[in-house]
Subunit: 318 residues, 2 copies
């Protein structure tokens, strides 16, 4: 009887791997440095080591494990198990699934960070029990994932829910790293908030942010709380745009729940209140009212718990 699942959160700086029961209770967890600069084979080796470590520490045999889920930054091809390219990992068109499956004899599943987070919230977090959830992360970038009709939704090229690059202000002067102007990420990511603040300082506007060595969305929020007018303007604008993005997601997906995670969402009540206000102005009220907009419940553990959910859900269908 296969009673366990392994989840691997593969990040640019560290690999976190855990083994859990089928209900998601973590039995052993380990974290290793990724060693990205050392190349594909070293990182793959460390990833496999981390799997061996949780198996040994828990005294669970390979035959007892139903699946291994791996969450990784993308773009990647989850159907083929290939990491296509990613700025912080050495892999280039690298089939990461086959060598791990061959080594351990366990089915292995790969998906991108945001999809894995969506699966984690759906299985163990704020989206539990729902049939249709959209997950959105607002951090340095803005991304997302979804579970629709009770199944992971990835789309044709594994790139569905690229929320950050949806255009919501076409004539905006704010450019995104993707080359587009006025998309959600360019207007309301943590990076965008910090950038607006630095621009305000450079333009000589009167703000308490002027004296700081470095500005992130956290400092802008602190200044907001102290009543700094520039900070208030910047955050209100960013949250207005996030509300438009949320309204558009409600109109597109009509989900039961939108779960929002990522660093900027840690602002909490103010963040969620403003987003709901803005979304209500931009969507049928019965649709906004029928959609719960909730903070991520998994927080720091999203990556590894989501990877466990991936391993669990996908191995169920094998």
């Amino acid at each position: 009887m296969k009673k366990y699942v392994i989840g691997v959160d593969l990040g640019g700086t560290k690999i976190t791997t855990a083994i859990s029961s089928l209900t998601g209770d973590i039995i052993e967890k380990t974290t290793l440095a990724t060693g990205s600069a050392l190349g594909e084979e070293v990182v793959l080796g460390r990833l496999m080591d981390s799997i061996s470590m949780v198996l040994e520490a828990s005294q669970i045999k390979e035959e007892e494990v139903r699946g291994i889920g791996i969450g990784s930054p993308g773009p990647l091809d989850s159907k083929r198990g290939v990491i296509i390219t990613t700025p912080n990992l050495p892999f280039r068109n690298f089939d990461i699934v086959t060598p791990i499956r061959n080594r351990f004899g366990i089915p292995v599943f790969l998906d991108n960070d945001a999809n894995v987070a969506a699966l984690g919230e759906y299985t163990f977090g704020a989206g539990k029990g729902a049939q249709n959830i959209v997950y959105m992360t607002v951090s340095t970038g803005v991304g997302g994932g979804a579970v629709l009709n009770g199944r992971p939704y990835r789309g044709n090229t594994s790139n569905a829910l690229e929320i950050g690059h949806m255009t919501i202000e076409p004539s905006s002067r704010h450019r995104c790293n993707c080359g587009n102007y006025g998309d959600v990420e360019a207007l309301s990511s943590g990076t965008a908030i910090a950038k607006r603040a630095r621009e305000a300082v450079e333009a000589g506007l009167e703000t308490s942010l002027a004296g700081l060595d470095s500005i992130t969305s956290y400092e802008v929020y602190q200044a907001y709380l102290e009543g700094d007018k520039v900070a208030i303007e910047i955050l209100d604008t960013a949250f207005d745009y996030l509300g438009i993005a949320v309204a558009n997601l409600i109109l597109a997906f009509d989900p039961e729940i939108i779960v929002i995670g990522g660093g900027v969402s840690k602002i909490g009540k103010l963040f969620f209140d403003r987003i709901k206000e803005s979304a209500s102005r931009r969507c049928f009220s019965f649709m906004v009212e029928s959609t719960k907009i909730l903070p991520s419940e998994l927080g720091q553990d999203t990556g590894v718990v989501g990877a466990i959910a991936l391993g669990l859900i996908e191995s169920e269908n094998k």
Copy 2:
């Protein structure tokens, strides 16, 4: 052996009903006046008459029919089989499914126009063979439907793919019937195109449209073809916005195919070329390139063929 399906296209002016084989070949078809002004029971009676008529004409027995699909304007609740309200039909919170099922002893399924069109294109039209398709109609309004992971996608309240009300120009002065400003419908529906043209005429701009008694998107297109600068500006702007909407749909759903139907799409090559150009500027090129953007193949028959597809797909899962 149940070898037939019935589809009903319930419209504000007429009811079209057809009986087909399981491969969608229409055996008999009939069209009746809806008689909306005569009230709920009369319209329901005519709808049932139309079903009896195609059964009789084809000499097919109730027991040989696997399912009846009904496409209707919304909002409606497809789970409960209830038409909630619609401007051109008398039904108000009316369970249309139960009386028809009781009368004929055949499973009955209800869905809105746009979802039914999506199912029709997926089963018999431009979306055949794909797993993930988005259907978009650009007519007096802008609406849509989707088939995702090979299943109809309706969302939590049966209102997914409300494409027309997604905001893409928040500071626009153009107001939608829904109350929002700068949504897709306010900027690029047939109604919006005609309205922009009338505003240009009223403002005294030099345009061949000035002499006309009535202006629809069709007249604007004719003037466009004759090189009328005002018409060119209006259509280019509308198609630019439609391209942004299409880019946002690609980023959200990553579909294999986006099928576009509705009156305005009949403009043809110019319409599709402009939309693709605009979408390419607003989306990762690999995602635009991996998505086919195709005209509706069902055209005039979308409603009834889509209803047949609904009856077929939903009865398969019973």
